[in-house]
Amino acid sequence: MTHVEIVFWITAVVAIASAFLCITRRSPVASALWLVSTMFALAVMFLLLDAHFIAAMQVLVYAGAIMVLFLFVIMLLNVGRASSSDMVGWVGRLVMAAIAVVLAAELWVLSRAGPSADVRLGAESVSQLAAEQGAVGMIGESLFRVFLVPFEITSVLLLAAIVGAVVLAKRRL
């Protein structure tokens, strides 16, 4: 086992365990903090994939800014005392288990298949590109040239979300 694989397995276990704890904790604050832990583990995975900029953004934006917003909302709404009745009934749990089994089976099949060799990038191609263009330049090139249209649609999407949130939340109509 190389050192990359060792780090991968550690972060993989941390990510899945934290995600599981995030959805099973009763207290919303505890859930949010376990989500932070998941985000950090994912950031390490991005690092292992040579995506340094994404890893940094993952920590700054998700583990940082978005989590702070989550915690603000939890504290403002004061939902700390959740009763046990908000857990789903046994039908919901059965559906949950069924979907989990289907997805796990699919993952198992996919892990045996993998993408064909033709579409895989070479082992060093990403780090080589990063050396040429820089970690940020690599993202910027594809974000503002190749994926310019999706990038702009995303901005309209966020506008729609803002308008919608204000419409639903403003106090006086």
Binding site: V109, G114, S116, L148, V149, T154, V156, L157, A160, G164
Partner: protein, 504 residues
């Protein structure tokens, strides 16, 4: 004025290619400023409605202009398609949006819903739809779908005084997000298998690399179908539909049942035909079953409904089944049938919901079929229009619905799917069991009281909507040739343009 060829790998070329969408987006931004100052009275809201209508009409004109003499792509179609299918579907979405805005103007005033942003959300949803029908890249189609969905989630709950609207919005949001996750997972797997998200390149990669039995690609297609199954409300992914359609304000329901569904079908058809044509042995089977079950279940449950809004919700599930039959065939004729039926379906659904807003009150949840008793003698024109919509939804000869269904049937038969054609005919016969009672109530039963239907009056734009849609349905029913030829022409253009593009 418009260049004959555009290079879609350049930002300037993209700007030209995306002019209709860019115009509508700019119009939304301007209207946001208008709303920021003018949002206090019903008159302000009316003004925003009129301006939205103007923006939609101009965009429709732009789309038609592009349709007639649009630019051709120089090389590969990147991100956005420049084919007739894009313009045809965009025109249908814009017509749906125009009709929805027109019936909203009076409705919002009557139900005293004062939210001028309502119209902006309809415009934003329409922009999303245009990207769904016109995207040449899975990423663009997905973002278009999200843009549409986010706006429609809010529209469903726009009446904050109604607890049913809140339930509808929340249910729609949660299940919609769930469906989007499936769709995104499917797109990721397709990307993983082929190494690209461009529809044409996906087609090329599948053929060139021989991925017909690739596990990852098949799993991706399965996820994609589940995601779209939710969005088009195909059985067994339809559970959210009745409650959401029931709880949302009726013009929003009309918009959802017509334009939102049409957009999901346009995106599904484009992805399946343009990118996944070499995989048709995989998805035909799956879509076949979805279509058959959806037709039967939607129509059978609709039979049991007594409230008109809920009945129309189940009827729209049944119609999703008919449209899935057109998708199943996967041929040019199937695409043409889908285009024609989507247009006709938009007209008749919006028309039927428009009459519901006239007859019903207070969200129309409680409007029963009995409430139409004796409408024929009191309001003959309204009853006549409702008859046209019901007969067209049923697929009665002489209406556009019949031609549309006939066309779907011939597409199914041409693709050797006789069993599916039989199911379609059977389901249509079943549907007579709930469309005809509405007509019988209007003409054969007496009004419940002397004062019944006194208040029932179509005013302003609603009258126009009802009149124009009913007349168009009759016109396309007896003289469908022009629209049919157009649909055939555009259906042909959807075929993977690989060979054409490479040779240019």
């Amino acid at each position: 004025m418009i260049p004959a060829y555009v290079d879609l790998s350049e930002a300037s070329g993209l700007l030209v290619a995306l002019l209709p969408e860019v115009f509508l987006t700019g119009w939304v931004l301007l209207l946001l400023l208008v709303v920021a100052w003018q949002h206090r009275s019903a008159e302000d809201q009316q003004l925003v409605g009129r301006l939205s209508l103007a923006g939609l009409v101009v965009t429709l004109a732009l789309v038609i202009l592009y349709w007639l003499r649009g630019p051709e792509p120089e090389g590969l179609e990147l991100m956005i398609a420049l084919d007739g299918f894009r313009y045809a579907t965009a025109a249908v979405f814009l017509i749906g949006a125009i009709l929805a805005v027109a019936i909203s103007m009076h409705y919002l005033r009557r139900e005293s819903i004062l939210v001028p942003e309502y119209y902006l959300l309809i415009l934003l949803a329409t922009i999303g739809m245009m990207f769904m029908g016109g995207g040449a890249d899975l990423v663009v189609i997905f973002l278009g779908l999200e843009l549409m969905s986010v706006a429609v989630y809010v529209l469903a709950g726009i009446n904050r005084r109604s607890i049913f609207a809140a339930e509808a919005a929340l249910k729609y949001f949660l299940l919609g997000a769930f469906a989007s996750a499936f769709l995104l997972y499917g797109i990721a797997l397709i990307y993983g298998a082929t190494g690209t998200t461009n529809l044409t390149l996906v087609y090329v990669q599948i053929s060139a690399m021989g991925l017909q039995t690739d596990v990852m690609l098949i799993a991706g297609i399965a996820m994609l179908l589940v995601g779209f199954g939710f969005k088009v409300a195909a059985v067994p992914f339809h559970m959210w539909t009745p409650d959401v359609y029931d709880g949302a304000p009726t013009p929003v329901t009309a918009f959802m049942a017509a334009a939102v569904k049409a957009a999901a079908f346009a995106a599904l058809m484009r992805i399946l035909v343009q990118a996944l044509a070499p995989m048709d042995s995989v998805w035909t089977e799956a879509v076949w079953w979805l279509a058959a079950i959806t037709m039967v279940v939607g129509n059978v449950i609709a039979l049991a409904q007594r409230r008109l809004k809920r009945m129309l919700a189940y009827s729209s599930i049944g119609h999703a089944g008919y449209l899935l039959v057109a998708v199943t065939s996967g041929t040019d004729l199937g695409t043409a049938a889908l285009l024609y039926y989507v247009l006709v379906y938009t007209l008749m659904t919006v028309g039927a919901f428009a009459i519901l807003t006239v007859v019903g009150r207070g969200g129309e949840r409680d409007t029963r079929i009995d409430d139409f008793n004796g409408l024929g003698s009191r309001r003959p024109w309204l009853a006549f229009a409702m008859t046209v919509f019901m007969l067209s939804l049923l697929g009665f000869p002489g209406t556009a619905g019949f031609i549309g269904k006939w066309y779907i049937l011939s597409a199914a038969v041409q693709a050797d799917q006789f069993k599916l054609a039989v199911v379609l005919v059977g389901a249509s016969i079943l549907s007579a069991g709930y469309y005809l009672p509405v007509i019988m109530a209007m003409y054969m039963k007496d009004p419940v009281s002397d004062t019944a239907h006194v208040e029932t009056r179509a005013v302003g734009a609603v009258r126009w909507v009802i009149g124009v849609t009913a007349m168009l349905l009759l016109l396309f029913g007896v003289w469908p040739n022009a629209v049919l030829d157009l649909a055939k022409e555009e259906g042909r253009q959807l075929r993977p343009a690989v060979l054409v593009t490479v040779s240019r």
